[in-house]
């Protein structure tokens, strides 16, 4: 998938669609980052209110769930296949890549 065929500049919907998938790909990294933050908390007696910690962790969790839901919904309108994606957003048919066979 290094060299994609098709135009270098996409139309607006195609461009949006690709960025949507980029966002979906970066989400787990964001989640990992936010859940790594508790490792910075210093544990001193009575310093940290654990209810706040609990609210923080669960809010990140819920927030990520909502974000993934929104982005996955958008992605639901797109073909799952990289190839088909490419075809769809480059406006070029590439039957040549598909070959003559379907799934077995």
């Amino acid at each position: 998938m290094n060299e994609r065929q098709g135009p270098i500049f996409l139309d607006q919907t195609g461009y949006r669609g690709r960025r949507m998938i980029d966002a979906l790909k970066i989400l787990p990294v964001l989640a990992l980052f936010l859940w790594a933050i508790p490792m910075l908390w210093v544990s001193e007696e009575g310093n940290q209110q654990t209810s706040v910690a609990l609210i923080y962790l669960f809010s990140v969790w819920a927030g990520m769930i909502i974000l993934v839901r929104i982005l996955s919904r958008r992605a639901a309108n797109m073909p799952l296949d990289d190839l088909a994606l490419m075809r769809r957003y480059s406006g070029q048919s590439s039957t040549a890549l598909e070959g003559g066979k379907g799934e077995p």
Partner: protein
């Protein structure tokens, strides 16, 4: 106690019923709702076992907030579905992967040694986990027994665990090995698990709500309680454990055999992932929402010695909420049972596909193309494996004494199964990964896990002596299980995860870089890594010597005759042939191998096909297809491929048509002389006897009547012949109208049998009619159908050459058609006769049994008029004719 038993039994029966109904619906083709994204999401909840249902609270009470990592890891994997899961599911579906061992084995050149290693690792890693489930159910039953102080009503820990293990084995065998599905999918089990998922979530939420609003008095008060708690009021999390546990639970989520089973193998539609990507994290969020409140309140209100692992149960019980406690018991029971059932199915598939089948293949070298059903062997080994796996779990539970040693086994098990992670991730993203690299990585990781985590988990002096703990293996100081290379002070679990996974990965990468993969490996590697690009697979078979008929026999033994025949028929049609046997082209062999792999795993399927075909060969073209990176080359070769395929198909059709024409012309000539002969013989005798009657002067009345009756018989014979000819030409011209009436299929068959009266002949023909026929009422031209049956039965009577001829008539309904197979036990038709037998005037051999050879041609015309057809099915015990016609002629549209 009695209430508990009654409720449990009722619940178990409900699960059986649900599973049974789901299987029935799936079999009747109404499985759409069974396969919704919601059911898929709920089935993923086998991740939440009894260890997380009961244990999370205990974990929180002992070690604070660390328990959350067990849920955060899988959530991360689901959030990142676009990266890994999407690819895994696609590979799983394209290559019909049956288990995680199958995935690894298939990726690295269908290597069976890798399959065996991964299977053994999975069994060792999972057995303690099953023991843990048995323990949790036993303990929870004990809680009720103690609460009622009723020692007589309680039969004891061992017996409880034993009966639970038996019950689970029964359920798993019943619904997990019902059939050998080509896709390895189990509708009944999946639905039962989805129901259990709802029950356990509901139970935990109910207990949580009771704790927050019933005991603590609201959310605000609950937060106060948490902040004032001695154990949980302070954020004390070991950072290295926090990171390591998130990593290992994410890894285990992908690598656990049961998770792979529900995530990949049971997946019905890739798009379900889109829903599960947020819905499953939501599920585990809800599962962990009330863990801290329950732990805090439990620590506050229950006596000091109370086992925090059972707070979910003892807290409502101590507050007098027996109903809630029973609900919570059902939740824990659900968690334990669903895990055990899925794990047993996944493991038994691995054991039968990667250990038993290869051994069986070795011993059954030349028997593959003999008849008999291999499916029974496979199913039997799976059933036995399920029994053995549960028995191992039970034995482990007994040996470990059900003590605290088991409680820590969850993470030990996670780390063990995660040792396949580098090989799996490397295998699907890196084409340079090789078999040797994978074997080296997994073995090193496995050994390190055994030495630093699994064996020490039994305690000092049990398996490893205490001198090993303090002085190191063989007295070498840097070989201490908790301080490899002399690095001390690490948490033992973090230590084990760090060293096993890192050295595993390093070995995997270095050995992969140093070794050279075989062609088969490179092909598979390219197909796995570029699964989204290669919609069509490169070929890897050259079917020179392959015998299509042998392949069909083997396929029938594994897939079942119906499915195998459909597969072969479809392939033959695509090749432009009108028969049941396709050319053993590389494409077809590839397709066949994948179908077989869905039942017995990639490595075994490959071995089976190569035993018949005589070895796989990877051609230069295949390697070029792998090496070709540019789309242009692909485009070019694809166009060529498409064209040459089309040419091949046309050429096939032409040559087949040509052959048929030649044979027809020969037949026509033969017929003409035949028909003149047929007409001439009676004519001659009629002429002779009528001349005698005319010329003889004196003749006794007896003689007269004898000659007259000969003349009469001969004219009848002539009339019959002419009738047949007329009949056929009328049928062929489509001038005939069907006389529709209603009737039972069995009655018509009975009538046909009586007409032929096969027991009166010198070699009596035994006819076995499928009782299914009684259940089918048809609306068609009954006389015409009877004519067909009479013809087929009479043929069997005439041509079946077995010493004791038997004709089986099998009947089934397929959609709006009735399908009947007339199978005798003779030698069957010779191959060259198979496609001309339905033509006019074709007869087997010489005029041995009389008749003009019009019968089957008439049958074919009749059945075509009745909306069906007739065909010859090869590779049965004897000659087999398949007849199809519409059940209700008026609805033919």
């Amino acid at each position: 106690m009695n209430v508990l038993i009654a409720v449990s039994l009722a619940y178990v029966s409900l699960l059986f019923l649900v599973a049974f109904l789901a299987e029935r619906r799936a079999n009747s083709g109404q499985s759409k709702w069974l396969r919704s994204p919601w059911v898929y999401t709920l089935s993923l909840s086998v991740y939440c076992t009894a260890w997380t249902f009961y244990g999370a609270v205990g974990y929180a009470a002992r070690s604070g907030f660390e328990f959350l990592t067990i849920y955060l890891g899988p959530s991360l994997v689901m959030f990142g579905w676009w990266w890994i899961l999407r690819k895994l599911v696609r590979i799983g579906r394209t290559h019909r992967v049956t288990s995680i061992a199958d995935l690894i084995s298939s990726r690295f050149g269908k290597s069976n040694s890798l399959g065996v290693i991964a299977t053994i690792l999975a069994v060792i890693g999972t057995t303690p986990y099953i023991a843990l489930q048995l323990q949790s159910v036993t303990l929870s039953i004990e809680v009720f027994a103690q609460a009622e102080a009723d020692p007589l009503g309680y039969v004891g820990q061992r017996a409880t665990a034993f009966w639970i293990a038996c019950g689970l084995a029964f359920f798993t065998i019943l619904f997990g090995t019902r059939n050998l599905d080509a896709n390895e999918r189990h509708d009944g089990v999946v639905i039962a698990i989805a129901v259990e998922a709802v029950v356990k979530l509901f139970a935990l939420l109910a207990v949580g709500a009771f704790v927050v609003w019933g005991i603590a008095g609201g959310i605000g008060d609950m937060f106060n309680e948490i902040d004032q708690s001695r154990v949980l009021g302070n954020w004390r999390v070991n950072n290295s454990r926090w990171a390591a546990l998130i990593f290992i639970s994410a890894a285990a989520f992908l690598c656990l055999p049961r998770m792979f089973q529900v995530l990949v193998v049971e997946n019905d539609d890739e798009r379900h992932l889109q829903t599960a990507s947020w819905a499953f994290p939501l599920y585990v969020l809800l599962m962990s929402l009330f863990v801290v409140p329950i732990a805090v309140i439990g620590l506050k209100f229950l006596p000091d010695g109370a086992n925090p692992d059972l707070f979910v149960l003892t807290l409502p019980l101590s507050m007098g909420q027996t109903e809630l406690a029973i609900l919570s018991f059902l939740g824990g029971f659900s968690s334990a049972t669903s895990m055990v059932v899925v794990a047993a199915i996944a493991l038994s598939t691995m054991v039968s596909n990667h250990i038993v089948m290869p051994i069986w293949l070795k011993f059954a070298q030349d028997q593959l193309s003999m008849s008999g059903d291999v499916r029974r062997v496979v199913l039997l080994t799976r059933r036995i494996s399920i029994g053995i796996i549960l028995w191992l779990g039970y034995v482990y539970f007994q040996l470990s004494g059900g003590g605290a040693a088991l409680a820590s086994i969850g993470l030990v098990s996670f780390t063990g199964v995660s040792q396949v992670l580098p090989a799996m991730i490397g295998g699907i993203f890196w084409r340079g990964a090789t078999r040797s690299g994978a074997i080296a990585g997994i073995l090193i990781g496995f050994a390190l896990w055994l030495f630093t985590l699994f064996l020490p988990s039994f305690g000092e002096g049990v398996v490893l002596s205490s001198s090993v703990f303090h002085q190191g293996l063989l007295g070498i100081g840097w070989l201490r299980p908790y301080a490899l290379l002399g690095i001390e002070g690490l948490d033992p679990l973090v230590h084990a995860i760090w060293w096993s996974i890192s050295l595993n990965t390093i070995a995997f990468v270095i050995i992969s870089l140093m070794t050279f993969p075989s062609p088969q490996e490179r092909l598979q590697g390219a197909q796995f890594v570029d699964v989204f690009r290669h919609t069509g697979a490169p070929r890897s078979w050259s079917g020179r010597a392959a015998q299509a008929e042998d392949l069909l026999i083997m396929a029938q033994r594994i897939l079942g005759s119906k499915e195998a025949q459909t597969l072969f028929r479809g392939a033959a049609r695509r090749q432009g042939r009108d028969s049941y046997l396709p050319d053993p082209s590389p494409d077809f062999l590839q397709e066949l191998e994948r179908h077989l792999a869905g039942s017995v795993g990639a490595a075994t399927a490959h071995a089976m096909v190569s035993q018949i075909v005589g070895g796989a060969s990877v051609s230069v073209q295949d390697l070029m297809a792998v090496a070709d990176e540019t789309a242009q080359m692909l485009e070019y070769s694809n166009t060529l491929e498409v064209q040459s395929k089309e040419l091949e198909r046309t050429a096939n059709q032409l040559s087949e048509a040509n052959k048929k024409l030649t044979r027809l012309s020969v037949q026509k000539d033969a017929f003409l002389s035949q028909i003149s002969h047929e007409l001439r013989t009676p004519m001659t005798s009629i002429r002779a006897f009528s001349e005698i009657l005319r010329d003889a002067e004196e003749m006794s009345p007896e003689q007269k009547s004898r000659y007259a009756s000969i003349i009469h018989d001969e004219t009848i014979r002539l009339t019959r012949l002419l009738d047949d000819l007329l009949d056929l030409s009328v049928l062929e011209n489509g001038q005939v109208n069907l006389n529709l009436s209603r009737g039972n299929l069995a009655d018509i068959l009975e009538r046909a049998v009586t007409t032929v009266n096969p027991l009166q002949h010198e070699r009596p023909l035994d006819i076995v009619i499928d009782p299914m026929a009684k259940k089918i009422d048809i609306h068609s031209d009954l006389d015409r159908l009877a004519q067909v049956f009479i013809n087929l039965i009479a043929n069997a009577q005439k041509y079946c050459d077995a010493p004791k001829p038997v004709l089986h008539i099998d009947t089934r309904k397929i959609g709006s058609l009735v399908q009947m197979d007339f199978i005798d036990n003779g030698k069957g038709l010779p191959e060259e006769a198979r496609d001309v037998v339905f033509e006019k005037f074709s007869r087997l051999g010489e005029n041995k049994a009389g008749g003009a050879g019009l019968g089957l041609a008439i049958c074919r015309e009749i059945l075509t008029r009745c909306g069906g057809g007739i065909g010859y099915v090869p590779a049965q015990q004897g000659a087999a004719f398949r007849v199809e016609f519409l059940i209700d002629q008026t609805q033919s549209g």
